[in-house]
Amino acid sequence: MADVLAEGYNVFDTAKSPSGTVKYLESPADVIGLIQSGRLAEHILLVQGGTTTFLAPALSMGAIGVITMSGAPESHLGILSREFQTPCVMTAHLTSSESRYVVGNTDPSHFEEIAKALDGRKVRLDCTDHEVGRVVADD
């Protein structure tokens, strides 16, 4: 059984199981830089928020998979990832950590811990379950 690094809400169930290196995007400049690099399709994108505008050009240009640290399928990014059929795991938490996201009351260390653990890892998204999306080690 593959090592499940993180779990969260599965936005929509799909047999698609994209694989790539996690790229943590902190700013719009990061997003623009990734698109200009021409290597968008190599990465699973990791972002803090569950809003859609931050990732707008990446979604539009063919992002293969998304992990967020907040939000739900009803959030705008959830709606758009469903429309794009881009597998998406939202409000992901590390399976190795007790830390959880709480709306309006989450210490920055929570996000930092997830980013540190996942950024640069080769992973695969498992979005076959109705409710739970999984980030699986693929390296």
Binding site: P28, G49, T51, E83, H130
Partner: protein, 477 residues
């Protein structure tokens, strides 16, 4: 769709009187009903809220009811409670999304909520007078029955009451800027306007989709036939299916971006059952709103005001269990993934907000590639433009998207938009709200208080039995 093989669609059971619908979330709502059984989401929640009403305002109401000048205190409280539940029902999970990294949405939202509550009442009163009274407002709602690409839609109409009254009053109560019995007259003005538009649009006695098991079936049959006549068959996995769904997603994304990451840029109606048993969803995607100065990049890309997509979904193919077109014009299904079950589609374009229906034109799916390129070009330009804006500009721009756009379609059709700009300083920021700009980031007001009070439904205090229908605010102490 591997998980639904062998299953049959059961969604029609949701329309049986005794059915309580599915649960889309595990959370429950309390609101002003502390000590009572918590309220669920969905059809069961709607039933519970109706059963707890003290008036008949949540049942089907008559035209005479709607034309009456004002609500009673009981009716105001029933609407306040129902809207608070409805807001929780559609937004409590969305509101978990945290920071944007791009647009400070919580900040602009709360400013807009409060601005609307203060400023809209006199503008809506003027608009009602200009169109000759309540019937004129109902007629504005009714125009949506025979139009596509119109912003007189569920989300805009809902926002008048749910946002302008509900969230605006809730935010000001949380900020302790007003008391529960202040602005009763103004609250009545906003809610009457909302009720009239929605009743005129639906014409079945209800005003909200949640009252009708999440259906928004507003179009006349002959009108629908004109649209379905353009539908092209689509097969999942085919290039044509991919072209259609890719365009749907890209245009929807731009409509979000043009409207500062909010849902005013899109509007679903339906589900309409077609003769062959398939379901039709009509989706307006407003990719170029001329009233926003940043939309110049959309104009430069040659984009129309709105693309409308007709999505035909085979409920058997996805073993559909429930479909909701909620009051913020968004479709959710169980199972969640309806895209693979799309078996037909059509696209239409409306160049301007007031382009006559006879000039709205269809676009063949094989021709969507060129439109997709324009949409992607505008998306990248608007993203780059937005990323260069300072925080203050982003917040006030976003504030305008809510405060202006939520009533813009109604003012346009009433012919009062220019008057509101000229005589009522529509685009000016009220001094009170300008000052709140500095308060909302203190003590986590936007990030913590707003989600806990507004989206959880905890802050919608009722009007008291002592409240007078004529109350405004007599003193600032």
């Amino acid at each position: 769709m591997t998980t639904t093989e062998g299953k049959r669609a059961t969604y029609k059971q949701r329309y049986e009187e005794a059915d309580d619908g599915l649960r889309f979330q595990s959370l429950t709502y309390t609101g002003n009903f502390v000590g009572m059984e918590p309220v669920t989401d969905g059809i069961k929640g709607d039933k519970t809220m109706k059963s707890r009403a003290r008036s008949k305002v949540l049942e089907k109401v008559s035209k005479d009811d709607v034309l009456r000048d004002e609500f009673t205190i009981d009716e105001l409280n029933d609407l306040n409670n129902y809207l608070a539940w409805n807001i929780w029902d559609v937004l409590v999970m969305r509101a978990t999304e945290g920071v944007s990294g791009m647009i400070p949405r919580q900040e602009y939202e709360i400013l807009a909520f409060m601005h609307e509550f203060y400023r809209w009442p006199e503008i809506l009163r003027m608009t009602t007078a200009e169109v000759g009274g309540g019937q004129g407002i109902m007629d504005i709602g009714a125009t949506a029955r025979r139009e596509i690409g119109t912003k007189v839609n569920a989300v805009h109409d809902w926002c008048i009451g749910a946002v302008g009254f509900g969230m605006g009053r809730c935010g000001l109560l949380a900020l302790e800027a007003i008391g529960p019995d202040d602005y009763v007259g103004e609250s009545n003005e906003i809610l009457k306007f909302m009720q009239r538009v929605l009743w005129g649009k639906r014409q079945d006695g209800y005003i909200l989709n949640s009252q009708d098991r999440y259906r928004c079936r507003i179009h006349e049959e002959d009108f629908l036939q004109q649209l379905t006549g353009q539908v092209e068959p689509l097969e999942n996995g085919s290039p044509k299916h991919a072209a259609f769904t890719q365009f749907n997603a890209a245009a929807e994304l731009l409509s979000f971006l043009d409207h500062y990451d909010c849902r005013l840029g899109l509007g679903d109606t339906g589900p309409y059952e077609l003769p062959d048993g398939n379901l039709l969803i009509l989706r307006d995607l407003f990719v170029n709103e001329e009233v926003f100065h940043w939309s110049d990049v959309c104009e430069d890309a040659g984009l129309p005001h709105c693309y409308t997509l007709a999505l035909v979904v085979d409920p058997e193919k996805m073993a559909l269990e429930e479909i909701r077109v909620n009051d913020i014009s968004t479709t959710f299904t169980r199972p969640k993934n309806y895209i693979e079950a799309i078996v037909g589609g059509a696209v239409f374009a409306r160049e301007k907000w007031n382009t006559p229906m006879g000039e709205v034109y269809p676009i063949k799916i094989d021709d969507l590639g060129e439109h997709l390129g324009r949409v992607q070009q505008a998306t990248l330009k608007l993203y780059t433009k937005t990323s260069r804006m300072c925080r203050r500009d982003l917040i006030w721009n976003g504030q305008y998207v809510y405060y202006i756009d939520m009533i813009l379609p109604h003012l346009r059709l009433a012919g009062t938009y220019d008057k509101a700009c000229r005589d009522y300083d529509l685009w000016e920021i009220d001094q009170r709200v300008a000052n709140y700009y500095y308060d909302i980031t203190k003590r986590g007001f936007a990030q913590e208080t707003v989600p806990s009070k507004i989206f959880s439904g905890a802050g919608y205090l009722p009007f008291s039995d002592k409240a007078s229908l004529r109350n405004s605010k007599g003193r600032w102490l």
